[in-house]
C-alpha cells in the first residue's frame, strides 16, 4: 500500500494549515495594496507641484546646475536596486534583480564601473551571497516607504554624485525598480535619475501672449539649489511607492496561487485517503467473509 490512512490524513491536515496561512497572507497583501495605492495618490500633489516648479525654473532661466549637467566622460555609474524585504512574493525580487543584472551588463559593456546601492533585504542577501560589494544598503520599509526614507537614500546618492569621480564619486545614477502597471502586471523598469533630465515646458498660458517671467527669491541658482535635491528625493519616493505597490500585488498573486494549489492538493489527498480507506474496508469485509466461509466449510465437514 502506498501510504497509510494516517499518513494521508496528516498530510492533508498540514496542507490545510498551509492553505490557511497563505490565504491570510493573500488577504493582508490585498488590504495593504489599497493603502499603498492611497499613499501613492497622496504623494502625487507634492511630486506634481515640484515637477512643475522645476520645469518652470528650467524653462524660464538658463541656469546650469551640477545635478543637471552631463559629465563629459562618464566612468562610474551607480545603480540603485529596489527589492523587497520579505519573500513570499513570487518572482518579484528575482525579476527586478534580473533587470538590475541586465543593466549592470550594459554598463559594463560601456566600460563603466558599477557602484551598487540596494534597498530591501532580498537584494542585500543576493549581493552578499555572491560577495559583491554594496556601497550602501537600506532595509525595513520596502512595503511602506516613508518620504523620510526616500530622503535618506536621495541624500546619499546626491552626495555620491557631487563627489568628483577620482574621489570615489559617480557620474550617473540609475534606479532599477518595479513599475506598477495594474493589479495583474508589474514590470521591472530602469530610469536614469542623475544627471536629471528635466522635462521642460510648463504649459505656456494659452490665451495670453506673455510667458510668465518668474521672479526668483533669492536667485534662480539658489532656488534651483534648493529645489533639485527635493525633486530627486521625490522621484526616488515615487519609485519606492511603485515598487511597494508592485511588491504587494505580486505577493497577493503568489499567495492566491499558493492557496489554489493547496486547495487542489487537499482535494487530491482527500480522494486518495477515501480510496485507501475504502480498500481497507473492502479488504476487511473480504477477510471476514473468507473467514466465515472457511469456518462454515470446516463445520460442514465435521457434521
Amino acid at each position: 500500500m502506498p501510504a497509510t490512512q494516517r499518513e494521508l490524513k496528516d498530510r492533508r491536515d498540514s496542507v490545510t494549515t498551509i492553505k490557511k496561512l497563505t490565504r491570510a497572507m493573500e488577504l493582508i497583501a490585498a488590504s495593504r495594496i489599497v493603502k499603498a495605492q492611497q499613499r501613492a495618490q497622496a504623494a502625487g500633489p507634492y511630486a506634481r507641484e515640484l515637477t512643475r516648479a522645476v520645469s518652470a525654473v528650467a524653462t524660464f532661466s538658463n541656469v546650469d546646475h551640477p545635478l543637471t549637467t552631463e559629465k563629459p566622460n562618464p566612468k562610474r555609474a551607480a545603480v540603485l536596486l529596489l527589492t523587497s524585504d520579505r519573500g513570499q512574493a513570487g518572482a518579484y525580487s528575482s525579476s527586478v534583480i534580473r533587470e538590475g543584472e541586465r543593466l549592470n551588463q550594459l554598463l559594463r559593456e560601456d566600460e563603466k564601473e558599477i557602484v551598487s546601492y540596494v534597498t530591501g533585504r532580498k537584494g542585500i542577501a543576493y549581493y552578499t551571497f555572491r560577495q559583491r560589494e554594496i556601497a550602501q544598503s537600506w532595509s525595513g520599509e520596502s512595503d511602506a516607504p516613508s518620504f523620510a526614507w526616500a530622503r535618506e537614500v536621495a541624500d546619499k546618492l546626491i552626495e555620491a554624485f557631487l563627489t568628483p569621480t577620482e574621489e570615489g564619486g559617480v557620474d550617473e545614477i540609475h534606479i532599477v525598480f518595479t513599475r506598477f502597471v495594474s493589479m495583474l502586471t508589474q514590470k521591472p523598469d530602469v530610469i536614469r535619475l542623475l544627471p536629471l533630465e528635466v522635462v521642460e515646458g510648463e504649459e505656456a498660458p494659452a490665451d495670453e501672449d506673455v510667458l510668465p517671467l518668474y521672479e526668483f527669491e533669492p536667485s534662480a541658482e539658489d532656488v534651483l539649489d534648493g529645489l533639485l535635491p527635493k525633486y530627486v528625493a521625490s522621484r526616488i519616493h515615487y519609485c519606492m511607492l511603485q515598487a511597494a505597490a508592485s511588491e504587494l500585488a505580486s505577493r497577493q498573486r503568489a499567495m492566491k496561487s499558493a492557496t489554489d494549489n493547496a486547495q487542489d492538493l487537499i482535494e487530491r489527498l482527500t480522494r486518495e485517503y477515501n480510496q485507501v480507506r475504502q480498500s481497507a474496508i473492502t479488504q476487511e469485509i473480504s477477510e471476514i467473509v473468507g473467514g466465515a466461509n472457511a469456518l462454515a466449510d470446516a463445520n460442514a465437514g465435521s457434521e
Partner: protein, 134 residues
Amino acid sequence: MAEESSKHLEVALVAAERVVWEGQATIVIARTTDGDVGILPGHAPLLGLLQGGTVQVRTVDGDFLVAAAPDGFISVANDRVSILAENAEMGHDIDLEEARRELEQALATGTAGEADADEVRAAEARVRAAETAS
C-alpha cells in the same frame, strides 16, 4: 465676472505625503530668504525659498491661518500659490507644549552640525506657527 474670479488666490499647502490644506485666500504672507513677501491676487510669477518656516494665509472667509513649512518653497503663477514643504503642518494642528519641548530638546543637542541646526529651525517654525495660531 472674469475680474471677480481673479480676486482671490488658489492656495495649496502640500507636504510630501499629503495635501495639508487647500483653499482660496485673499493674501498669503511668507518669509523667504530675502524677507517677507505678501502675495495678493495678480502677483507676478514667483519662485522662492522659505526661510522662516511659517506661512500666513488669510482665507476668503476672513479666517487667519498659520502653517509651519520648514525648509520649503513657494511658487506663484496665475493666481495659484503652492507652498511645498516635506513636513508642512497647520498651526492649529500642532501641540504648542509638545513643540516647545521639542525645541528645547533640539537646542540642548546643540547647533554644531548642519543637521542639528536644521532641526532647531524646524522646531522653531513649529513653535512659532502654533503660537500664532492659538
